[in-house]
C-alpha cells in the first residue's frame, strides 16, 4: 500500500475512533445520569446509600468469604462485581454502560489502528511530533482504561476518561496536525522509541490517576452529605484515593526511567546528559512534584486530600510540559536546523 493510502486510512480510522468514542462518552454519561434514583423520595435515597454502604463493606471485607458472603447470589456473580448495586441499578443505566463499554473497546481498536497505520506510513514509531505524540498518548490511555476495565468495574470512570481523550484527539487533528515527515537528525535514534514510548505510557497513567484523584477530592466533599448525586454510585473516597495511588506507583518509576533514558540520549545527541533545556527542566519539575506526592502520602500530619492536590499539580505540570513548553519555549527540543 502506498504511503498516501496509508495516510488516508490512518486518518479515516482516527476520525472513526473519535466518532465512536464520542458515542461511548455519551453512553457513559447516560449511565451515570440514569443511576440517579428516579424518584426523589428520601426513602429511595436511603436505599441507594444503604446499597452503596453494603458495596463498600463488601469491598473492604477480607477475601475468602465464599458461600457465606451473600446467600442467595448465584455462584457466577461472586467476585469483584458488587451484586447488590447491580440489583439496584436501573436497567437502562446498566444497558447504557454495556453499550459504552463495547463502544470504547471499538474506539480503542480504531485508535490503535490509526496509530499503527501512521507508523507504517512514516516507517518509524509514530512519536516524532505533537500530533503523533497526542494520538499515541490517547491510545495508551484508552488501552489502559479498557484493559483495566476487564478486571474491575470501572464504568463510573468512563466519562472522565473518554472526555479528556476526545479533547486531546480534537487538539491533535486541529491544532497539532502535521503531514508525515522524516525525522530531523537528532531524533533519529532508538532512544526516541525507548524514551518517548515510556514517557507516553507514564503520562497516560498519570492522566488516569489525575482523573481518579479529581473524583476522589470531589467524592470526599460530597460523601456522607444528603445531596442526591451520582457520586453516591462511585466508589467511596478512600477507595478512589487508593486506586489513584496505585496508578501513580506504576507511573512514577516509568517517569523516572523516562528522565534517565532522556539523559542518556541527550548525552548521545547533544554531548551532555543534562542541559537544563526547558523540556528537561519541566521533566525534572514533574518528577519532583510526583516524588513530593508520594512523600506527602506517607508524611504523618499530611492529609490525603493535600497529597492528592500535589498529584494534580504534577499533572498540571505535565500539561504545561506538553502543551506549552513544546510549542512556545525556545530550547534544544524544538530546534530546527541543527
Amino acid at each position: 500500500m502506498s504511503d498516501l493510502a496509508l495516510a488516508q486510512l490512518s486518518m479515516a480510522s482516527l476520525y472513526s475512533a473519535m466518532g465512536v468514542l464520542t458515542l461511548a462518552m455519551l453512553a457513559y454519561a447516560a449511565h451515570l445520569a440514569w443511576l440517579l434514583p428516579a424518584r426523589s423520595e428520601a426513602k429511595d435515597l436511603k436505599a441507594a446509600q444503604a446499597a452503596h454502604a453494603a458495596e463498600r463493606q463488601r469491598e473492604l471485607a477480607p477475601v475468602g468469604g465464599g458461600p457465606t458472603a451473600g446467600g442467595e447470589h448465584p455462584a457466577y456473580e461472586v467476585g469483584d462485581a458488587s451484586t447488590e448495586a447491580h440489583d439496584e441499578e436501573p436497567l437502562r443505566a446498566r444497558k447504557a454502560a454495556g453499550i459504552a463499554g463495547a463502544l470504547s473497546i471499538l474506539g480503542t481498536l480504531l485508535l490503535t489502528a490509526a496509530v499503527v497505520l501512521r507508523g507504517l506510513e512514516v516507517h518509524r514509531m509514530p512519536l516524532g511530533n505533537m500530533f503523533e505524540f497526542a494520538i499515541t498518548g490517547a491510545m495508551f490511555v484508552m488501552l489502559a482504561y479498557t484493559g483495566w476495565s476487564l478486571r474491575r468495574d470501572l464504568r463510573w470512570l468512563g466519562v472522565f476518561i473518554t472526555g479528556p481523550v476526545l479533547i486531546t484527539l480534537g487538539m491533535a487533528v486541529t491544532v497539532w496536525y502535521v503531514d508525515a515527515a522524516e525525522l530531523m537528525p537528532s531524533l533519529k535514534s532508538y532512544w526516541l522509541v525507548i524514551h518517548v514510548t515510556i514517557a507516553t505510557i507514564a503520562m497516560a497513567l498519570f492522566g488516569i490517576g489525575a482523573a481518579i484523584n479529581g473524583l476522589y477530592l470531589w467524592q470526599d466533599r460530597v460523601e456522607g452529605g444528603t445531596t442526591r448525586s451520582f457520586m453516591n454510585r462511585l466508589p467511596a473516597a478512600r477507595q478512589l484515593e487508593k486506586l489513584a495511588y496505585g496508578l501513580h506507583v506504576i507511573a512514577f518509576p516509568l517517569w523516572t526511567f523516562t528522565v534517565i533514558a532522556g539523559a542518556i540520549w541527550a548525552r548521545q545527541a547533544w554531548g551532555s546528559y543534562w542541559n537544563w533545556d526547558p523540556k528537561e527542566v519541566w521533566s525534572f519539575v514533574i518528577w519532583v512534584v510526583y516524588a513530593a506526592y508520594l512523600h506527602a502520602r506517607v508524611t504523618s500530619g499530611w492529609r490525603r486530600q493535600n497529597a492528592a492536590m500535589i498529584a494534580l499539580a504534577g499533572f498540571a505540570c505535565i500539561i504545561v510540559n506538553y502543551g506549552i513548553v513544546n510549542v512556545f519555549f525556545v530550547g534544544q527540543h524544538s530546534y530546527s536546523g541543527l
Binding site: 471485607a61 477480607p62 477475601v63 475468602g64 468469604g65 465464599g66 457465606t68 502535521v178 503531514d179 515527515a181 522524516e182 530531523m184 537528525p185 537528532s186 533519529k188 535514534s189 532512544w191 487508593k242 506507583v249 512514577f252 518509576p253 523516572t256 526511567f257 534517565i260 539523559a263 540520549w265 548525552r267 548521545q268 545527541a269 547533544w270 554531548g271 551532555s272 546528559y273 543534562w274 537544563w276 533545556d277 526547558p278 527542566v281 519541566w282 525534572f284 519539575v285 519532583v288 512534584v289 516524588a291 513530593a292 512523600h295 506527602a296 506517607v298 508524611t299 500530619g301 499530611w302 500535589i310 505540570c317 513548553v325 519555549f329 525556545v330 530550547g331 530546527s336 536546523g337 541543527l338
Partner: protein, 535 residues
C-alpha cells in the same frame, strides 16, 4: 554547675531541635515542593550558560527588570545560591534522615520476627480453621509453607510461628535515597574534573586537542588545561542531506542527515583511522568525546593586490542564520595596501535577491553567492580580541561606489572575480567548503551518575512494589475427630504496613496450600464465624 551548663544545654537543645526539624519528612516535603518551584524560572528566562546572546538581548530589552533579575540570579538559576541552598538543605535532610534509618534497618534485618500475639485472629486479616493432625504437625506444615513463600520464620514458643517478609521494601527505600546522593556526587564530580570545548573545523583542516586550538574552552576548576592528550582529527568531508522532495509539504529543506568523515589519530603524526561522527553517534577519543553539534559553509575566498599577488586565500567559515543557511561572516586582510581591507556580509548557498535584500532559498550550495560590503582602515585597532565573524568598524571606513556615497556592495557568484575600486586589487570566490562544529567534552562523573540513577530506579521499584508483611500462626488442640484422631485449631493473623489490600488474599492462599480440603471451611474475620470455632 547548672549556671554553667544551662546555657550550653540550651544551645545544644536548640541545635538538636533544628536538626530534628530539618530531618523531618515534613521539611523534606516542603523542600521538594520548593525545589520544583525554584526550577521553573530557568525555563521561562533565558539562561546565560545555555544561550548568552539571548540572555544579553533579554536584559537589553528589559533594562529595569533585567538588571534586578540578573542580580537575583534568574539568568543562572541552576548556579544561583538560592537554588543551591534548597538542594543542599534537601540533601542534608536526606542524610540526616536516611542514615539513622539505615542503622535501624540493619538491626531489623538481623532480629527475629516478633512473638506471635495471643490472639492472632484479632489482627486486621485473619483465618481460623480446625484441621486434622496434631498441633506440632500442623505448625510444621505452616512453617514449611511460609518458608516456601519466602517469609522469614521463627518461633518464640511451642505453639506459635512468627513470620515476616518484605525487608526489601525498606532496603529499596534506603537504596533510593542514598543513590540520590550518588547522583549529586556524580554531577559535582563531572563539574569539577570535566571540561568542554568547541571548535569550528573546515573540511580539509586538522584539529589537535590542545587548549590553543579551541575556539572556546571551559574547564572545571580542577582541570589542568595543559595536560590534554593531543590527539588529532582531520575533517576529510562533511555530508549534509536535506529534504529535497517538494512533495513533502512544509518539509522542503529540512535537515535529514549530517555526517562528518574524519581521520582520527591518537597521537599527532601517528596512524590515523577513518571514523564518522554523526548527530547521535559521537567519536570517543582517548581524552574526551567529540560531538557534531553544528555545521555551515566556509566559502573559499582569495584576495589579490593590484599587482596580482595573493594576499589572502582561505576557507572562511560563515555562521548560518536560518534554515536555508543564509550565513554571516567576515574576511580580514591585514596585509593589504595601502590600508587593511575588511569584507563583511553574507554567504548564500542558493542565493537570490529579494525586496528584503540577498537571501538563500535552499540549504544546499546549488547556486552560491557572496554578498559583501568592503571596509578599509585599521582592522585590529587596539589588538583586543574580536569575533572572526564580524568586523570591528570603529577604525574602518566603508568603501563607496565610485562617484557616489552609496556603499559598495559586491554580489559575487561562485567562480567570479570582482575588481576592487581605486586599484585596491580583486576578490575571488573560488569555491565552497563545509565546516563541522565540533564539541569536545569530558565528564568523569557520568558513569557514577548513571549507576546511581539506575540504582535509584531499582530501589524505587523495590520500595513501591514490595509489601512488608507479618504472619502469625497459633495452634491449640481441638476436640479429636470421631475416630479419635488428633485435630488442631489453627488461628492465623496477618499484619501489614500501610493499607495493604492483598493481605487477606495472602492468608487465604497460604491456608489453601497448607490445608487444601478445609480451606473452604469457615473463614474468620466474621465474628459470628469465629465464635462457632472458638471454644
Amino acid at each position: 554547675m547548672s549556671e554553667v551548663t544551662q546555657p550550653q544545654l540550651g544551645l545544644l537543645g536548640w541545635l538538636r531541635w533544628m536538626w530534628r526539624q530539618l530531618t523531618s519528612m515534613r521539611t523534606a516535603l516542603l523542600l521538594l515542593l520548593l525545589l520544583a518551584i525554584a526550577a521553573v524560572p530557568g525555563s521561562t528566562f533565558p539562561q546565560r550558560s545555555i544561550n548568552a546572546t539571548r540572555t544579553a538581548q533579554w536584559i537589553a530589552d528589559h533594562p529595569t527588570a533585567g538588571k534586578v533579575l540578573d542580580r537575583l540570579g534568574f539568568f543562572e538559576v541552576y548556579a544561583s545560591p538560592w537554588f543551591a541552598a534548597i538542594y543542599l538543605l534537601l540533601f542534608v535532610s536526606l542524610v540526616g534522615c536516611v542514615l539513622p534509618r539505615a542503622k535501624v534497618h540493619w538491626k531489623a534485618l538481623r532480629t527475629r520476627p516478633p512473638r506471635a500475639p495471643k490472639h492472632p485472629d484479632r489482627l486486621g486479616a485473619a483465618h481460623v480453621v480446625t484441621v486434622d493432625g496434631s498441633p506440632d504437625q500442623v505448625l510444621e506444615q505452616w512453617r514449611a509453607a511460609l518458608r516456601r513463600s519466602r517469609f522469614r520464620v521463627d518461633s518464640h514458643d511451642e505453639s506459635s510461628v512468627s513470620a515476616e517478609k518484605g525487608y526489601l521494601k525498606e532496603t529499596g527505600n534506603l537504596l533510593f535515597h542514598l543513590a540520590l546522593i550518588g547522583i549529586i556526587v556524580g554531577v559535582g564530580w563531572g563539574h569539577v574534573f570535566g571540561w568542554k570545548g568547541d571548535v569550528i573545523l573546515p573540511e580539509g583542516k586538522t584539529f589537535a586537542n590542545t587548549i590553543s586550538r579551541y575556539d572556546t574552552f571551559a574547564p572545571g576548576p580542577s582541570v589542568d588545561v595543559n595536560d590534554l592528550t593531543p590527539w588529532t582529527v582531520t575533517l576529510t568531508r562533511l555530508d549534509a542531506v536535506f529534504e529535497d522532495d517538494p512533495a513533502v509539504k512544509g518539509q522542503l529543506g529540512m535537515p535529514r542527515d549530517f555526517t562528518a568523515h574524519v581521520d582520527y589519530a591518537r597521537d599527532p603524526g601517528g596512524a590515523a583511522t577513518l571514523e564518522t561522527i554523526k548527530v547521535n553517534h559521537p567519536l570517543e577519543t582517548t581524552d574526551g568525546t567529540v560531538f557534531l553539534l553544528g555545521n555551515g559553509y566556509a566559502p573559499h575566498i582569495t584576495v589579490r593586490d593590484a599587482t596580482g599577488t595573493v594576499i589572502y586565500s582561505d576557507a572562511t567559515p560563515f555562521l548560518a542564520q536560518d534554515n536555508n543557511y543564509k550565513s554571516v561572516g567576515a574576511v580580514k586582510v591585514p596585509g593589504a595596501t595601502p590600508k587593511d581591507l575588511g569584507f563583511a556580509g553574507l554567504f548564500l548557498p542558493t542565493g537570490t535577491i529579494t525586496s528584503h535584500g540577498p537571501t538563500s532559498i535552499f540549504p544546499q550550495p546549488l547556486d552560491p553567492y557572496l554578498a559583501l560590503t568592503v571596509f578599509e582602515g585599521e582592522l585590529f585597532p587596539d589588538g583586543a580580541p574580536q569575533s572572526v565573524y564580524s568586523l570591528d568598524t570603529s577604525h574602518l571606513t566603508q568603501l563607496t561606489q565610485e562617484g557616489t556615497s552609496d556603499p559598495l556592495r559586491l554580489w559575487i557568484k561562485k567562480g567570479q572575480t570582482m575588481e576592487l575600486p581605486g586599484g585596491r586589487g580583486s576578490i575571488t570566490f573560488d569555491g565552497v567548503d563545509r565546516w563541522a562544529g565540533l564539541s569536545i567534552r569530558t565528564d568523569p562523573g557520568k558513569s557514577l551518575t548513571l549507576a546511581a540513577a539506575l540504582l535509584a530506579l531499582a530501589g524505587l521499584i523495590a520500595m513501591l512494589t514490595v509489601r512488608r508483611r507479618r504472619v502469625f500462626v497459633r495452634v491449640s488442640e481441638a476436640q479429636p475427630g470421631p475416630d479419635g484422631s488428633p485435630r488442631t485449631l489453627v488461628r492465623v493473623g496477618g499484619l501489614a504496613k500501610d493499607d495493604d489490600e492483598g493481605m487477606g488474599e495472602v492468608l487465604t492462599d497460604l491456608a489453601e496450600r497448607v490445608h487444601p480440603r478445609t480451606s473452604t471451611g469457615p473463614s474468620a474475620a466474621r465474628p459470628k464465624d469465629r465464635r462457632t470455632t472458638d471454644e
